[in-house]
Amino acid sequence: MSKVISPTLKLEEPSTPFVPGPPGTHITIRGLTKYFAGWPLYENFNLDIPKHKIVSVFGPNGCGKSTLINMIAGLTPIDAGQILFDGKSLAETKIGYVFQNYRDAMFPWLRTIDNIAYPLKLEGKSKAEIAHRVEQLVASFDVKFDLKRYPYELSGGQQQTASIMRALAPGPEVLFLDEPFSALDFEMTLFIREKLQEVFMQTGTTMVLVSHDLEEAVYLADEILLLTKRPTEVAEILHYDDVRPRTVATLSQPRFIEVKKHSMEIFQREVRRPATALPPD
């Protein structure tokens, strides 16, 4: 009986073995490929997104910043590759997403408070649990407007605040924000920016923020992910580790100015670089 009775496992050898990210990595993206109309947007794209950090995504127009987070969040299907959250699949991971266009992201048939409670209802939470969680959110966001109103009765900033509260309600591991401020006026942008920073300091939720405003991208970020033109690759990842809370004074700190300047240089270098693959016009 020298034979071991066990079926011979035939493991399919992956063409490229999985390379884990450095310690503290939250999201690993390996071999991500996405084509649009036959043209590569991402080809064999690899990225590690760190845990408990805010990552700002910045890059030239059309490089697929939003597409990147949509693919990670499972809203845009990918052609090939693997995206894992702490080694788990997306289905096993709780995520939150804040859309740029809050108007089309909220459900106008529900009162604002029910919009915020909706993801909790999906989780099958009890009424008491939901009420408790919503109260927590109201307190931490210092909400001054009437949540019993319908979303369309609120100002843009109030709607976006509510949609961030909705995204945070279930306590997501990762919060994705797709240009969350670009439809807001300056006053509201400042307010929500501070709220986001507060929430981040309280919870340490990993955040991935797409922004078209470099100052804002740097101001909030621990890491600034700069992308190239398509086919998109990582141009550079800059670390920015000023203390939080960051304030208006942060904007004139030498370190902030330096990082912003450096980002700008890389951005301009990438914008001027001739495109290797152009989409068919």
Binding site: A73, L75, Y97, A105, P108, W109, P119, L122, E123
Partner: protein
């Protein structure tokens, strides 16, 4: 930065020669002119006039109508004076024989409409939520939606005979396709981002359907229901005229015409118009109540 700005303002102030020249000087500075805010408020007369504006058209019509009859441009046997017509209408509807016909038409229209709604909305929503299913019947729906329902009256006569059911059936058929089409498109054209929002929150396909798609389809569904009730009325009136009928506004109109009782005829026409208008208004009110977010 702030220092330079304020310096500029001071400089501009020094240069300013008068309160009114705002654009001289090298910087922008606030105007020191007293700002008097006078809201533009319409006088009571203007407001009353604005409220009466919608009445102007009908009033003009009645005046022209009256003048034409008085001047004898159109024979009285073809066009009765408006006052006589209105009196006939009011008397008829206030317990006269016209009321009976009016109610019968209302009942038939609502029956047809109810059938169309009860069958059409669920079927439309179902088809809309399965794009492949909808595409496979899209041509049929579009074809029969484009076919004038009145063209099918003889066919329905063959199937149902000269009966009350026939009138309701043909009207229900015409209305059904409109409801079906609008509900299906409401689901098909649901805002993608709301579906995505639900999906990212972990909603299942069924939850997306009942929490998002169904609600998104409500507004187009109401548009469909409103057009459907108008269509049902049109078909019912036509059917009452041409499918041997003993009652209804359509019957009344053609009956009065046959014996040249023009007052009754015009009164019945106005009653049909009022019915169509009222149904439309009722549906708009219900729609605003239920689809409160529409257009916002």
């Amino acid at each position: 930065m702030a220092e330079t700005l304020s310096a500029t303002v001071v400089h501009a102030d020094a240069n300013a020669s008068a309160d009114t020249d705002l654009n001289t000087g090298s910087g922008i500075r606030p105007t020191s002119m007293p700002r008097t805010v006078t809201p533009i408020r319409p006088s009571p007369w203007q407001r009353a006039f604005r409220k009466l504006l919608p009445m102007l058209g009908p009033l003009a019509l009645f005046i022209v109508w009256d003048l034409v009859v008085r001047a004898g441009w159109i024979k009285a046997i073809l066009l009765p004076p408006p006052s006589a017509t209105l009196i006939t209408l009011v008397n008829g509807l206030a317990g006269g024989p016209l009321l009976m016909d009016f109610l019968v038409t209302v009942a038939r229209t609502l029956e047809a409409f109810l059938i169309a709604a009860v069958v059409g909305v669920p079927l439309g929503v179902l088809l809309g939520s399965n794009e492949r299913a909808y595409r496979s019947v899209e041509f049929l729906i579009d074809f029969f939606r484009s076919t004038p329902s009145s063209a099918l009256i003889p066919l329905f006569l063959l199937i149902f005979g000269v009966s009350d059911i026939n009138k309701v059936a043909i009207a229900a058929f015409g209305a059904l396709l409109i409801v079906l089409f609008n509900s299906a498109y409401g689901v098909l054209n649901a805002r993608k981002q709301r579906v995505m929002a639900a999906k990212v929150m972990g909603a299942s396909r069924w939850q997306i359907f009942k929490d998002v798609l169904l609600w998104e389809s409500l507004q187009p569904t109401f548009v469909g229901l409103r057009s459907a009730v108008s269509m049902a009325l049109v078909i019912v009136i036509v059917a009452e005229m041409f499918i041997g009928s003993e009652s209804g506004l359509g019957h009344k109109i053609i009956d009065a015409q046959q014996v040249l009782n023009v007052r009754e005829m015009y009164a019945a026409i106005l009653a049909a118009g009022a019915l169509g208008y009222a149904l439309n208004v009722v549906f708009i009110v219900i729609e605003k109540r239920i689809v409160h977010w529409s257009g916002r």
